[in-house]
């Protein structure tokens, strides 16, 4: 069955540190990839998405992610985090041709000022 793994459950960083959150998926076919963010007390919001083309995609608030097909990975990065990046981050995969999104278990990110 299709699955998504986020290996970091809780990441704690200081402001200005660099961030990389891992995401791996198990499906071998063509996929669409997403990162969603949930700030404290807010609803899930789309951070960035990959459908095709350039495997390095840029999202809102300085986030980017790189799709590496050979590694079945879609890691999220940000060169310098801010306190306001404190949130829960979810990776999600959609198999092309289907409409179902499969989410990873999420990574809680805490940024200390």
């Amino acid at each position: 069955a299709q699955s998504v793994s986020q290996h970091n459950h809780h990441v704690i960083l200081s402001e200005a540190a660099s961030l990389e959150l891992g995401c791996n998926y198990s499906y071998g076919g063509t996929v669409n990839l997403f990162w969603y963010v949930q700030y404290p007390g807010q609803h899930l919001q789309l951070l960035l998405k990959y459908f095709s083309g350039d495997p390095l995609v840029k999202g809102i608030k300085g986030f980017e992610a790189e799709f590496i097909k050979s590694k079945f990975s879609f890691n999220l990065r940000k060169p310098s985090v801010q306190w306001s990046d404190t949130a829960e981050y979810f990776c999600a995969v959609k198999v092309q041709g289907a409409q179902k999104l499969v989410f990873g278990q999420g990574t809680r990110l805490t940024i200390n000022p």
Binding site: V4, H43, Q45, L46, K49, F51, K94, K100, L101, Q105
Partner: protein, 112 residues
């Protein structure tokens, strides 16, 4: 543009009681999803509607959960009877294209 609306935001019930959640998607969005998010986990799809027809309900516990979208707009998810393990946040999402999904604020259900 108004977002996905859900109500209530919080609900506390006792086990074996029934509960219903309501969702109003973004105007014009034909596809509507209900997800269950248990604490510490990612959202899990319960049911997906395309207009008023069910596309995928393979993970809906049909002995106790039901959902409808009668006029192809708003939707109701019901649990009857509730169990302790149903404690979770119930998220509604909608999509126009079937690619990007927009989520509502969720309903936090506590079953005691």
């Amino acid at each position: 543009e108004a977002g996905v609306a859900q109500s209530p935001r919080y609900k506390i019930i006792e086990k074996r009681q029934s509960v219903a959640f309501w969702c109003n998607p973004i105007s014009g969005h034909a596809t509507l999803y209900w997800y269950q998010q248990i604490l510490g986990q990612g959202p899990k799809l319960l049911i997906q509607f395309q207009n008023n027809g069910v596309v995928d309900d393979s993970q809906l516990p049909k002995d106790r959960f039901s959902a409808e979208r009668l006029k192809g707009v708003d939707s109701t998810l019901k649990i009857q009877p509730a169990k302790l393990e149903d404690s979770a946040v119930y998220l509604c999402a909608s999509s126009m294209t079937g690619y990007e999904q927009y989520f509502g604020p969720g309903t936090r259900l506590t079953v005691t």
